[in-house]
Symmetry: C2
Subunit: 235 residues, 2 copies
């Protein structure tokens, strides 16, 4: 089996800072987690908040704290620091090799998508952002880790992509269509969904867009772990 | 311009834990750093140490601390925690978009490799691991960030790869040969160097092997940032 994670990310058109933060961390008992946060408002303030939230969660996960507890701690922390005046969305997607499960933790009104094979379902149980209230709890979905699973999460904007043009993006259909290709890689899925959203925004994203994909595939390759980052730099 | 980072990593043959830890972090003023540590001894103890060192460094870099100061702090911290009895090697490779420089920070007797175009040079100024003495300082190389740069660092074992078979690996030549291909990606370089080492070890690595490559290329693509992780899971 192989777990693939892909993140594709673009800044709001004509801004220098993205308010979204995504980091990947190795789990101490085996496996990997990807943590994504989007701070309220935009620019430097939003970035500061999203970095704070992601670092808190990453640090707790690295200490062996479970995903749900880490999300609650990040919420309490943001609430205490900003007196409930600032919110952030938070998603954690984990492959836990100790429990042999895949975990999707949402504190985000935007839904997540879970596919088994080519059947995509919507994880849209009501879920609010963190930081606004005491005792904010995430919505957690936990399923057995097995080949054929795909999870897609994104910052809220993908839902609104195309709002300027009046078109709407049918995310679930888009994921389904992509999965019907032969074994698309996680990176191909993330890139395609991001491209889709950017096309609807006429290549000038109205907000930062981040897409995170985790796929579990039957492993056919070697035993090498790989990580790859590509960072465009404006000259 | 585009900054590419690739990490390829394999465990020692017939062990379940790698003692090496590598993480990537976004720099608060722009850019990205990759932090690699290898704890003394092997198995769980080594992993605990390398995770501790990497997390300390990552956390300081995320706070805006400079690379050299972060390495010194990690050394002091390990020295204080383990009374100078445990060492770890540490490498930090950063693309700093604020200073527009590429930084290579070494606390590792193993050399690093720096190529400008296809000309590979050895960064082998004497450098010791962290944790054994007070005031351990890293060796830092800082150069202007520009297309055509390639940095390769690895845990010490790549130097010894093939020791079992009596062959030795000519790393500098191997990098040079690879760079003479047309614009190899960072991932291709990392994979090829790891494969090379594994072949010399007859596919049964005598220790964990981690290869980190950072490349700066003339950017021709889009403005999307990408991160991709592939984690093989034994079933």
């Amino acid at each position: 089996m192989e777990v693939q994670i892909a993140v594709s990310k673009i800044r709001k058109y004509a801004t220098s800072n993205s308010g979204d933060t995504v980091e990947v961390v190795e789990r101490p008992q085996g496996g990997v987690s990807v943590v994504m946060a989007d701070g309220q408002s935009s620019g430097r303030g939003a970035k500061y908040i999203s970095v704070m939230v992601v670092r808190k969660v990453i640090s707790l996960l690295a200490d062996g704290v479970r995903d749900g507890a880490a999300a609650r701690a990040a919420s309490d922390n943001l609430y205490a620091e900003r007196s409930g005046k600032v919110s952030a969305t938070l998603n954690i997607v984990s492959s836990d090799l100790h429990t042999r499960t895949l975990l999707i933790t949402r504190n985000n009104p935007a839904p997540a998508y879970l596919a088994r094979g080519e059947q995509v379902s919507l994880l849209d149980e009501p879920s609010g952002p963190i930081g606004l209230y005491r005792d904010t709890r995430p919505v957690i979905t936990e399923i057995d880790l097995e080949p054929g699973l795909t999870v897609v999460v994104f910052t809220d904007v993908l839902v609104h992509a195309g709002s300027r043009t009046g078109e709407s993006m049918h995310i679930q259909e888009a994921i389904q269509d992509l999965l019907e290709c032969e074994e698309p890689s996680a990176q191909y899925l993330a890139d395609s969904l991001l491209e889709n959203a950017m096309r609807l925004d006429q290549q000038r994203p109205v907000d930062d867009i981040t897409v995170v994909v985790m796929r579990v595939v039957s492993h056919t390759g070697d035993e090498v772990r790989r990580m790859s980052v590509r960072l465009p730099v404006t000259t």
